[in-house]
Symmetry: C4
Amino acid sequence: MAENEAPRSLKKSVYDVIFGTETPAGRWFDIGLIIVILASVGIIALDSVESIHDRFPGALYTAEWFFTALFTLEFLTRIWCSPNPRAYIFSFYGIVDLLSILPTYLGLILPNANNLVVIRILRVLRIFRILRLFRFINEANLLSRSLYASRRKIIVFMFGVASIIVIFGSLMYIVEGPVHGFSSLPRSIYWAIVTISTVGYGDITPQTSLGQAVAALAMITSYAIIAIPTGIISAEMMNEHQRMKSSRRCGNCERSGHETDADYCRHCGAQLPEEII
Amino acid sequence: MAENEAPRSLKKSVYDVIFGTETPAGRWFDIGLIIVILASVGIIALDSVESIHDRFPGALYTAEWFFTALFTLEFLTRIWCSPNPRAYIFSFYGIVDLLSILPTYLGLILPNANNLVVIRILRVLRIFRILRLFRFINEANLLSRSLYASRRKIIVFMFGVASIIVIFGSLMYIVEGPVHGFSSLPRSIYWAIVTISTVGYGDITPQTSLGQAVAALAMITSYAIIAIPTGIISAEMMNEHQRMKSSRRCGNCERSGHETDADYCRHCGAQLPEEII
Amino acid sequence: MAENEAPRSLKKSVYDVIFGTETPAGRWFDIGLIIVILASVGIIALDSVESIHDRFPGALYTAEWFFTALFTLEFLTRIWCSPNPRAYIFSFYGIVDLLSILPTYLGLILPNANNLVVIRILRVLRIFRILRLFRFINEANLLSRSLYASRRKIIVFMFGVASIIVIFGSLMYIVEGPVHGFSSLPRSIYWAIVTISTVGYGDITPQTSLGQAVAALAMITSYAIIAIPTGIISAEMMNEHQRMKSSRRCGNCERSGHETDADYCRHCGAQLPEEII
Amino acid sequence: MAENEAPRSLKKSVYDVIFGTETPAGRWFDIGLIIVILASVGIIALDSVESIHDRFPGALYTAEWFFTALFTLEFLTRIWCSPNPRAYIFSFYGIVDLLSILPTYLGLILPNANNLVVIRILRVLRIFRILRLFRFINEANLLSRSLYASRRKIIVFMFGVASIIVIFGSLMYIVEGPVHGFSSLPRSIYWAIVTISTVGYGDITPQTSLGQAVAALAMITSYAIIAIPTGIISAEMMNEHQRMKSSRRCGNCERSGHETDADYCRHCGAQLPEEII
């Protein structure tokens, strides 16, 4: 960017503010946008409470249109200033941005389309940009890299859990049967998921002694089950820690093995390079 | 196999397709079989929903017979092409395969045997073969080896948990008694399992102050309890990671200590051998 | 024992059988005793189910007296053959053994003392002897040593959890109040324990919006909370693993660092000493 | 303190007893204070149970005034003896101390202010001083340092969880709708928190098949979710262990790498310095 001698065009400046986070203006825009998104989500949440909806119908309707106008302006500006509008429009955030303004306009034509304004809530995903603003991006990367590195183990684990759930669900369907609330196989499998994940709503519970014995077995199995993903992720994170330690090298004495939060080399006292996680 | 000069017999070819996963045909057969199994399980699940069962009685009955015919054909082919049919028939999968077709035939003689068709769901266990297809077998091995290596610790843990459950269950039977739903000792122990595993259906809950105090103690105990299997498995997985690191050796410079996902030796740059997990 | 030339007295032999696990007879006695204990506990459990109790009143009463007679005989034999009867009688197991026979005799004098026969269930703790029989004692030691080593951290953790529970309980007592089931401070604290431990019976649930917000905060807090004991125990177990590795030394080449399940030295191939965990 | 030749003033002595834990008197004062606080909290808890409140109205009222008088005396003494009273009054504990006596006095003027006496429960936080008394401060520091070191990762994790919760909550609001208890968006989000945290009260449960499928997905997601904070904290604690090992150095032979619970150097046998955690 420094070598860009020509005066920066308005389009480029707007692009840097709206899409970038390096300039102060870009950072303030992102913070402002997140506040506006949270406000609009708050309005949608309030609007969904019947007593509030009935008390302030005008104010909430106005607010909905206000945010729709704002987001429409933002959407159009993004398309205008983007060097590759197609790429933006068909990106994940582009689709979310469009979906968040569409329902209000559709509500003018179709009577019930307004209800779909709830989709706007997907915009809260923009909040992940705040991680970039406050330099949490390293931690976010570490977490997602750990999850990514253990994805194959988690898939295998999910296969195993799915089999256990299907088998316990079928077993309970046979043992308890429709008279005790296990009215169909899908419902029994739903019960098995509720039980094995230790959520335990209690909307479907075993009534017979044999059913309670099978349920008890499922719960004890859930102990071993919950331990496995935790073990996978813990081991992967330990691994990441050690990898980071051995990969960061002092620029002065070339020695590695520094703590992940060290700022100075413990052998020669030279400043360590920023962690590149 | 390469030294087998004679033309391969039909029986051997069929065996390779049905039992093997090395040939493309064998892989496609497995994928097809898993799709058919999932479809048949889906039909059984739909059939168990009363409203669907009543709307399409003919179609579902036909589907049941269609899958039974298909699985019978598969079962007979497996017996025919297997070099050792006895071993197959009495293997775990052989028994599951037989049990999954028997109920439909029995339904012709006995009126209610059809309900046992749910047993067919056990065939979903064949889905584990898909792990072999998509090279997830290393991860599956690592997980099962970690579980196997910690089996003795988990057994000891289960002994401890069983004792705690029996004691809390008996205590609540004395404290709360039949009038508050703790109608028998087995039922109180069922309550203890539901509580200590943190499922918490709420179908049986302590009513007296003393009972609530005992229940609170049981829940606090459950904290320490849930931490133990997780700790066991985490430590075992870390161990596996380190073992793999130190056991993989560069073929060029003979040095070990490579990351588990490294492809090249970090000392001499030579390609590392495939991980043998 | 080998240097004991004199013929072993009957008392000593009986002692070795009843208290020891080194002789085959001692091992069989322990296995037999555990079976008898489990049977007697099973009878007590069945007796507590009203429908079974009413159907077989005579048989269950006979069984109770049969086990009482057997345990009385065992108790008296233990006292007789013990070199230090006082120590046995006032030991934990001695008191449990006495308590498990007393209620039946008291039932002859006091009408309702029979109900206390449930205390006999404490005898299941003898099942921990089975760990010694099947050489699980190393694993049991490792687990209890890990728990012991982390006891101080767990106590600190429990202090923190207790404070969080008391504060959330009080907060909900103020926010929701008696009209919504939070009828007293102890009951609100019971609710907080049920929630923070993620048991979640649902017998007391927040009804107001503010109460649900506070409850949501408590549940999110429970995430961080459940992670702490698991982290403590995982780290401690990893530590034990490493300690074991570095403490086991080959008797031939004096090198350490062997895997915990290794049987031969990886440097010289000599057999490694039994793990002394 | 040793060089303070002049006779210590009464103010200084009282300060050492009330604020310090180094002198025996200071320790006894803290223990006594904690007992009094627990007693006063016990009285408040009993008073909140309606049946007890109605039976002993006079005694409980007297007890409330007794503890208020005691705490007022303590509060005034702390102000008097503190070298910097302002700093104490506006410190966290100073505010808590004031809030814990205010409601009783306000009750003389305003009729319902007495109910606020529950605030006094915040004084249980003083119990953390007991950690200092019994030398648990090292463990408390290790735990809080681990939590502090992983704070950024936990914040990122919380962002992710919040997004998942908002999205599942909105989805269920659309899928199930007000007729099945998901009466508003905030209530649906409350349901999502109850489910994802595996508390599972069962006060709001999905009724439709599609809703149960979405809920099942949320529960399976909760598996991966619960594993992440545990992995973060486990890895951080392992790190702390290793850091402590490598940072403690024998004063005699200068070698490090000692177990965290070692008292003597394993290389030369010299006594190791106290762990400075």
